[in-house]
């Protein structure tokens, strides 16, 4: 039984968020969003976190969404507030993360007149949101907000943005809460992708895939983010164990399959281990689940898996056949489709094939001076972390080291910016993860470049008591770019040396504990102390300046052409 109340647009917005189960939002107030902030203190169900830059609000909402699978919400004012969200929304768009951005807009009579802090945020965010809209009248505010959240979370998730003019926030109308049934109706009405939501995979395609699996001599499973988004862990594991097929996890698929499992091979692509990429090149069947065969995974697609037939399971029909030719397309949810495939396949083993692949694995000589190697650091972070721990990484060399070296055991405990490769992601995203998983340890691991892009958020952590542990791999360079310069640009280190402040003093200035680690012998005691801190803590690792990530597939090359060692002395230009 719902009773209509006369409420302002700002109050209605708060009510709808509560109705939709939102408990945490990230934002920054300003002129055009002030009515919303005026209403917010009356809504104790919602915790608002004041960030130091709106980009961090979007990344934190993204981190929260990835950790929970529920909508992550960020709020900004018009103009600069809205434009500062852009990188975060593009990040969420590339990695299919359900984020709702609420932006204030100048009052309707001012729109289109170059008003103070006016910007066409709908136009700006059109290609980087799954959906966006202007709230043209308070009468449509509740429904459009519910619809936006439904669109963000249904099917393949993605970010949405609603732009709310200031006078609409102040406009009053009768508000009726919507019951569960009504919500379904409104979301069905605005449902975006009728052809991909319900799709149960056609039986004959599943049978065809099962036949290919039975006949293959060198089959592989490649699993991506879709497995995490749909929670298909058990199904993928059952498929692997029933068929004995080894499993490759893409960067965003890491932790979808236990690293310690005997069937786990590793990460493919540009920095994939040689034996993993060679397995792809020798495979006669690849069953891809919830991945999009991104160019960082495939290398040059002309030479990708030349012997393999590809079975591709994906929720988004437009992903199938986009980058690689697919023999058996199965459009559907990863969990449902994989479950059907498990039921359809005959038990088998792949021992000879696995032995062949393992035979290709070899220890590589690390190009590393001193003992504070990425291996030692990642192992020490793992050893010091409690059983329940989520690792959020930034972008660059450390991201690849952590992806390859951290022994993930529990699903969805590795969170990183994959598709967009957004430096500066880790610190704010980790705040979102921490509030989503308050009982767990959360590490934000960054390089010295990415950390300095959003380190202002330490202040947010202190003010809001968000106990993120921060690790900075400091090599004094924008390491991955420097590596490319060393390999492909004749060693000309243009604009890659980067100065850092004294991170221990920085931590001190923010009132949090900080340590500098320069020797492997300091790893254990420092990480133990950092982990034991009740609040945020910062650990800097001073690592070898010119260490490289090996192996590496050069851009444009196929997976068969890895670089495994330093190039001979830079040839110059």
């Amino acid at each position: 039984m719902s009773v209509a109340e006369l409420l302002s647009g700002a109050q209605i917005l708060c009510r709808v968020l509560v109705e939709e189960g939102v408990d945490t939002i990230w934002g920054y107030p300003g002129g055009a969003i002030m009515p919303f902030y005026h209403a917010l203190p009356d809504v104790p169900e919602i915790r608002h976190v004041l960030v130091r830059h709106e980009q961090a609000a979007a990344h934190a909402a993204d981190g929260y969404a990835r950790a929970t699978g529920r909508i992550g919400v960020c709020v900004a004012t018009s103009g600069p507030g809205a434009t500062n969200l852009v990188t975060g929304l593009a990040t969420a768009h590339m990695d299919s993360s359900p984020v709702l951005a609420i932006t204030g807009q100048v009052p309707r009579p001012m729109m289109g007149r170059d008003a103070f802090q006016e910007t066409d945020v709908l136009g700006i965010t059109l290609p980087i949101t799954k959906h966006n809209c202007l709230i043209g009248d308070v009468a449509e505010l509740a429904d459009k907000t519910r619809a936006a959240i439904a669109i963000a979370t249904e099917g393949r998730p993605g970010p949405v943005l609603i732009d709310v003019p200031k006078d609409v926030q102040n406009q009053k109308t009768e508000y009726r809460p919507v019951s569960g049934v009504g919500r379904q109706v409104s979301s069905a009405r605005f449902s975006l992708t009728p052809d991909t939501q319900h799709l149960t995979p056609p039986d004959d395609r599943v049978r065809q895939a099962a036949r290919l699996i039975a006949a293959a001599e060198r089959p592989l499973l490649m699993v991506g983010h879709g497995v995490i988004l749909s929670g298909a862990y058990d199904e993928v594991r059952r498929l692997a164990e029933k068929t004995g097929i080894p499993v490759i996890t893409t960067l965003l698929g890491i932790s979808a399959f236990p690293e310690s499992h005997p069937l786990h091979l590793g990460m493919p692509g540009m920095h994939g281990e040689v034996h993993v990429n060679r397995a792809i090149q020798h495979a006669d069947l690849i069953v891809g689940i919830g991945l999009r065969f991104d160019d960082r995974v495939t290398g040059n697609t002309k030479g990708f898996a030349p012997r393999a037939a590809i079975v591709h399971i994906d929720l988004d029909a437009s992903e199938i056949g986009k980058n690689v030719p697919v023999a058996v397309p199965i459009v559907g949810d990863a969990r449902a489709a994989t479950a059907r495939l498990v039921a359809a396949v005959a038990p088998r083993r792949c021992e000879a094939w696995i032995a062949e692949v393992q035979g290709w694995a070899r220890q590589r000589e690390e190009s590393y001076c001193g003992d504070l190697s990425p291996e030692n650091i990642v192992a020490a972070i793992h050893d010091a972390a409690p059983d329940r721990c989520t690792i959020v990484t930034d972008v660059g060399q450390h991201q690849m080291w952590v992806a390859k070296l951290y022994p993930y055991r529990r699903p969805n405990t590795h969170i990183t910016s994959g598709g967009l490769g957004t430096m500066g992601f880790a610190v704010p995203a980790a705040m979102g993860v921490k509030l989503a998983r308050p009982g767990e340890a959360v590490w934000a691991i960054s390089g010295d470049g990415g950390f300095q892009m959003n380190m202002q958020e330490i202040a947010t952590m202190v003010q809001e008591r968000i106990a993120v542990k921060m690790a900075v791999f400091n090599n004094g360079y924008l390491g991955m770019v420097r590596q490319w310069q060393q390999f492909f640009h004749g060693g000309r280190y243009s604009a890659t040396p980067i100065w850092s402040p004294d991170y221990v003093k920085l931590a001190d200035a923010y009132g949090i504990p900080g340590w500098r680690v320069e020797r492997a012998s300091d790893l254990e005691p420092v990480l133990a102390r950092a982990s034991a801190q009740p609040g945020p803590a910062l650990v800097e690792f001073v690592i070898e300046q010119e260490a490289n990530v090996f192996p590496m597939i050069p851009p444009g090359a196929t997976l068969s052409e890895p670089i495994e060692a330093e190039p001979a002395a830079a040839a110059g230009d």
Binding site: P127, I151, A317
Partner: protein, 160 residues
């Protein structure tokens, strides 16, 4: 190969913007875009003629299909259907050449739809090539202004 993409959109500029933005982003050789009312209230129809191969057209259609505000998307090679556009051409016609103009219109099955003093506005529907041939035939009169709608299209066979 000329391909027709036919989209039903929510009747709002944002949906059109999104669809056209996706086309722009893919840098496709667009021959024409035509926008008009859709089949039901609140709908708009966008017809895109694009010169590309089957696979690209198919991928583009799937991408368009999933956009917010796109209700349906179909495609077919233009040769499997009909694509026609409307042209309005304003020509200079002194009274003594009026009969000559009507002869040309007759040949092309075009109609004079307005006759300002010493001028005529002629309407023609047809393929792009047909419209161009007609325009050439009118050049001898002196073309003052013209406007073309871009093609709308229907498949002869079911699209799928």
């Amino acid at each position: 190969m000329a391909q027709a993409l036919s989209l039903l959109l929510d009747r709002e500029l944002l949906a059109l913007n999104r669809a056209v933005g996706e086309l722009r982003r893919r840098n496709l050789p667009i021959e024409s875009l035509a926008v008009g009312p859709g089949d039901a209230p609140g709908q708009a129809r966008l017809t895109v003629i694009v010169n590309t191969d089957d696979a690209t057209a198919e991928m583009t259609m799937r991408k368009l299909h999933k956009l917010s505000g796109v209700q349906s998307a179909t495609r077919f090679p233009v040769r499997d259907g009909v694509a026609r556009e409307l042209a309005l051409v304003k020509v200079r016609v002194p009274p003594e050449r009026h009969a000559e103009l009507l002869d040309v219109c007759d040949m092309f099955k075009a109609t004079v739809v307005a006759e300002p003093p010493e001028q005529a506005i002629v309407q023609l529907a047809g393929t792009g090539a047909f419209v161009l041939a007609f325009v050439r035939a009118l050049e001898r009169f002196g073309i003052l202004e013209m406007t073309r709608s871009g093609a709308v299209a229907l498949p002869c066979l079911p699209a799928e």
